[in-house]
């Protein structure tokens, strides 16, 4: 969902550059408190993994492909603040090293793919992951829905940006239909990839899944009990 330079006009690109910078800066201040010996390397791995999976475009329609955005996956594993940072690093590397995604459009892409997806994902996690120890099926289902929701709203953000600063050579209505239609399908793919990945991590190291750590019981419980089978 990388945006090329020139598609969105300069004022809107700059405005969303500010939004992205503010989002990343705020995420950095919030993420600091979450960082420990486990989450520091996890942040590195999550970013590297999102980068890798973003290379794997899958077909959704004839002539149309999709790829993981990654904000939901990152949020489920390391929380929204680290997720914003991780995905932003991915986008930065892609733009600078691979010419993937415009440079003046980077603020738009960071806003959509890093900030919006992660915040939406965090909100959905709050709504969906209520139990202390979800069943494997529950983890799968929640991850899928969180990912799908994040993709839909992240893609909708582009429609908003287009409304504000696009060339309007194609009608806004058409852009909205196509963007949301394509990304509904892409979201299913993202949902599956996210669910499989989160379920795998949850099965081996549930303590490394942020979404499962939000309901830790009172300190009286020993750590071994919490690492469930």
């Amino acid at each position: 969902m990388h945006i090329s330079d020139g598609i969105i006009d300069a004022p809107v690109s700059i405005a969303f550059g500010v939004v992205a910078a503010a989002g990343v800066a705020y995420a950095a201040t919030r993420a600091r408190r979450d960082l420990d010996e486990r989450t520091v390397p996890m942040a590195g791995l999550v970013a590297a993994f999102v980068f890798a999976v973003q290379m794997l475009n899958f077909p959704v329609l004839p002539g149309v492909s999709g790829h993981l955005l990654g904000g939901a996956l990152a949020t489920l594993l390391v929380g929204p603040w680290l997720a914003i940072l991780c995905v932003s690093v991915v986008l930065l590397v892609q733009a600078l090293m691979f010419a993937d995604g415009g440079l003046t459009a980077l603020g738009l892409s960071v806003t959509n793919m890093a900030v919006v997806t992660s915040l939406v994902a965090a909100g959905l996690v709050t709504l969906l992951v209520r139990r202390q120890r979800p069943t494997p099926r529950g983890i799968w289902a929640a991850s899928f829905v969180v990912a799908l929701g994040s993709v839909l709203l992240g893609s909708a953000a582009f429609v908003l940006e287009y409304a504000l600063g696009g060339t309007l050579s194609v009608s806004l209505e058409r852009v909205a239909q196509l963007q949301l239609g394509f990304h509904a399908l892409i979201g299913v793919g993202e949902g599956l990839i996210t669910a499989v990945t989160v379920a795998s991590v949850a099965a081996t190291r549930p303590d490394l899944v942020w979404a499962l750590q939000r309901h830790r019981p009172a300190p009286a419980t020993t750590p071994d009990e919490l690492v469930s089978a």
Partner: protein, 145 residues
């Protein structure tokens, strides 16, 4: 329950990322992604990918400023075939890993320097994750997450 050590987990995860970027990427679809497809609606394209007719959002797109970088387009300069994508993918994985990890380390150091004297984190992870420490620090740390 004996669980996989953090080091093994991280190495395993990195290996998967490298295999995906280095191996599976050659099989990825080369069709334009969802957003690119939206921007291409309304135009027809010629063999070289250039717009031949119609009106579409993509007509406004400008060439990338760094299109001459050695890894531009996920190909490696001087390397042909699937190895080109594989090398660029693996390079990207490692660069991203390093940058993100480095950023996280930097943020953590600044937090520790300015924060309270209390140690964050549950202490060094025992290699086999036995977690034999007192439950107190774990509860405090995770309540903050």
């Amino acid at each position: 329950m004996r669980r996989i050590s953090l080091r093994r987990f991280l190495l395993g995860g990195l290996l998967v990322a490298l295999l995906l970027a280095g191996g599976l990427s050659a099989f990825a679809s080369s069709a334009p992604d969802g957003l690119d497809s939206v921007t291409r609606q309304g135009c027809t394209f010629g063999a070289g990918g250039a717009i031949t007719s119609g009106r579409c959002i993509a007509q406004q797109a400008r060439a990338h400023g760094l299109a001459s970088s050695p890894f531009a387009g996920y190909a490696t300069d001087g390397v042909d075939g699937p190895a080109s994508t594989a090398l660029s993918g693996m390079a990207g994985v490692l660069v991203t890993l390093g940058l993100a990890w480095g950023l996280a380390l930097l943020l953590r150091r600044r937090e520790r320097g300015s924060g309270s004297g209390e140690r964050h984190g549950s202490g060094a992870d025992a290699p086999d994750g036995s977690g034999a420490g007192a439950p107190g620090p774990d509860g405090l740390v995770d309540a903050g997450r």
